[in-house]
Each structure stands twice: as C-alpha cells, then as structure tokens.
C-alpha cells in the first residue's frame, strides 16, 4: 500500500542556510560582500578595476568562471587579492562554493569582497551566496529591453550599473524604456550610468559602496 509523506522543503533551503553562515563570517570580519552579476561581456571585471582605482577601501575578489583564470591574473597583477573558482560547466556560483573559497582567504578583514558570478543573467540571480548586496552590471550594447527579458536579475539587484555609456551616440539605446523596465521590477535599486573605458561615473559607484559598507 502506498503512503504519502508530507515534506514541504524548499529546494534552495540548504544553500540559503550556508549563505547565512558565510554572511555571518564576513560581517564579523567587517567585510562587505557584493555579488556581481551580469551577462558575458558587459564589463564586470573592467568595472571592478575602475572601482578598485577609486576606492578608499581594500578590495578583495573571488572570480567565478566556467574555465580559465584570465581575470584573476589581471586583477592580481593590479595588486587586488583575487582567488579563482572554476565551475567546469555549472552556470552559477552557490553558497557552498563560496564557503570553500573563503577557507583559502580566511584572513580577509576590513574591506569589500566582490564575488564575480558566472557571466549569465539567469541563474546567478536565483542563488544567495552570502552577499550583503547584489550589483548588476548591464551595458548599453545589450539593448534597452533587458529588464523586461530578465526580470529576476533586475528585481534582486541593489545597485544597477549601466556600463558602456560612452557608446550611446552610436547605439539606439532607449534609456527611458530601460529605466521604466527597471522601476517596474524594483523601485529601491540605485541606477548609475558609467563608462569603464573612460572611468566616468565611478565616483558615484564608490560612494554607494562606501555608504552601504559602513552599515554592516
């Protein structure tokens, strides 16, 4: 005879439990953690380089890539302490992978940890990895319809950076349509336009990070 046993367990529950542990450890060490989200090629690493140039805080980076350590090498050469996670096919970082990576850099204290997620606008938005804030990077070359097509990433972001604004004279990017889509999903996020190529707009980005980092 068949019997049904009630479970009602969220499939993300274990991930969220580990994310809470990671967040607690980082907070105790006065490390403000930012989960950096964005599609491939939007300029996630370039944006972090510009932030590091202007920052008054110590930046640390965990680089998530499916393969390679190109970005880690670039950032380490600039003196930014960076460790690499390769997921070998998985399309997002999860809390256990961050917990493991942190054992390698357990001495990090008093600073801002950027975790560059896998270049993907879908699943990285679904997993908490212990961050205090999500920074979503989009670029003008992606088109202004992204908030409508990838709503979850926009809904979950605390800071939205619109990169490659130096290219707008050559593109049909409709900023009003873009912003309308953002506001439909998320009325609390800060939206900042930047150019990682020219360095424009990064004073505001650094100010946002410093203002939020001092709240932990």
């Amino acid at each position: 005879m068949t019997k049904e046993i009630e479970v009602v367990e969220n499939i993300f529950e274990e991930n969220d439990r580990i994310a809470a542990q990671v967040n607690k450890t980082l907070t105790e060490n006065k490390v403000f953690c930012i989960n950096v989200l964005g599609a491939p090629g939007v300029g996630k690493t370039s944006v972090m380089k510009r932030i590091a140039e202007k920052a008054n805080f110590t930046p640390f980076v965990i680089e998530g890539d499916i393969e390679s350590d190109i970005d880690t090498e670039t950032l380490n050469k600039l003196g930014i302490k960076t460790v690499q996670i390769n997921t070998h096919g998985a399309c997002h970082l999860d809390a256990p992978s961050i917990q493991n990576a942190l054992t390698g850099i357990s001495h990090i204290k008093n600073g801002v940890l950027f975790i560059e997620n896998i270049g993907n606008l879908v699943c990285p938005a679904e997993f908490n990895i212990g961050e205090h804030a999500k920074m979503l990077i989009v670029s003008t070359t992606d088109g202004s319809d992204k908030p409508y097509k990838y709503p979850l990433a926009f809904e979950k972001a605390n800071l939205i950076i619109l990169n490659k604004c130096d290219l707008t004279p050559y593109l049909d990017f409709d900023y009003d349509f873009f912003l309308k889509g953002v506001l439909m999903q998320n009325k609390n996020a800060t939206v900042i336009s930047v150019s990682a190529k020219d360095g424009d707009g990064f004073d505001k980005v650094v100010e946002w990070i410093e203002n939020n980092a001092c709240r932990i």
């Binding site: 005879m1 068949t2 019997k3 049904e4 046993i5 009630e6 479970v7 009602v8 367990e9 969220n10 499939i11 993300f12 274990e14 096919g89 998985a90 399309c91 997002h92 999860d94 879908v122 699943c123 679904e126 409508y148 709503p151 979850l152 809904e155 439909m184 999903q185």
Partner: protein, 119 residues
C-alpha cells in the same frame, strides 16, 4: 547543467525523509515548481533517471506540478497574468509588481510503499 545540482538536491531531500520515516525506497517525489522558478521540468525529469541510480529513489518517478506566475497590482491589489512587455493591471490599469506566485520550488511530498518499511 543548470538542473543537474538541483536534481541531486531533490533526491537528497527525498532520501532524508524516507529514512527519517523508516522506508528504504521512494516510489514517487511530488514537486511544486512555479514557471518563474527558473528550472525546466523536462530536464529535471531527464536528470532524475540518471542521478537516482544507486539511490533510494532509483526506479521511482518524479511528478512536477506547475504554477503560473502572477503579478500583483500595486493599486487595486488584484493578482493577474502579465502580458508580454507590459505590467499593466487588466482590472484597473495600475502597475503590477512581482509576486511570489510562480516562484515556488519545493518538494511537496514523497510517496512510499508499506512493503519497503523497515528494510
């Protein structure tokens, strides 16, 4: 790849509950998955047959109940299905905001057989 680790987690949860209740086999796993949860049921089912081999769920089935996503109107509070490229409420013309309906993703229950009790 996206559904692979999630399917592993589903099997783990089912096994935990079977063992906790004294059963050595899971005949069926009932999942509730909103259309906005980001996971494709067919792919979860495909992985399930492979990943469940050698587990208490081997030979069992997985059943996925879908939930259609709804927006909630900020003005009148009604829930409604979003039209493409629009967030407009069909009841009052207000703006819809994301709601939790359609985001569900959980193991609702497992089905076991009395023949597998205590083995």
């Amino acid at each position: 790849m996206h559904e692979y680790p999630i399917t592993q987690r589903i099997i783990k949860i089912a096994e935990e509950y079977a063992v906790k209740n004294g059963y050595s086999r899971v005949r069926k796993i009932n999942i509730v998955a909103g259309d906005m949860c980001g996971y494709v049921p067919d792919t979860v089912e495909m992985y399930f047959n492979e990943i469940s081999k050698g587990t208490l769920c081997e030979g069992g089935e997985i059943s996925i109940e879908r939930v259609e996503p709804k927006l909630k109107c900020a003005k009148c509070g009604e829930y409604f299905k979003r039209a493409l490229f629009s967030f407009e409420c069909p009841f009052c013309g207000g703006e819809g905001e994301p709601s939790d309906i359609g985001r569900e993703f959980y193991v609702k229950s497992i089905e076991v057989d009395e023949d597998d009790k205590g083995n």
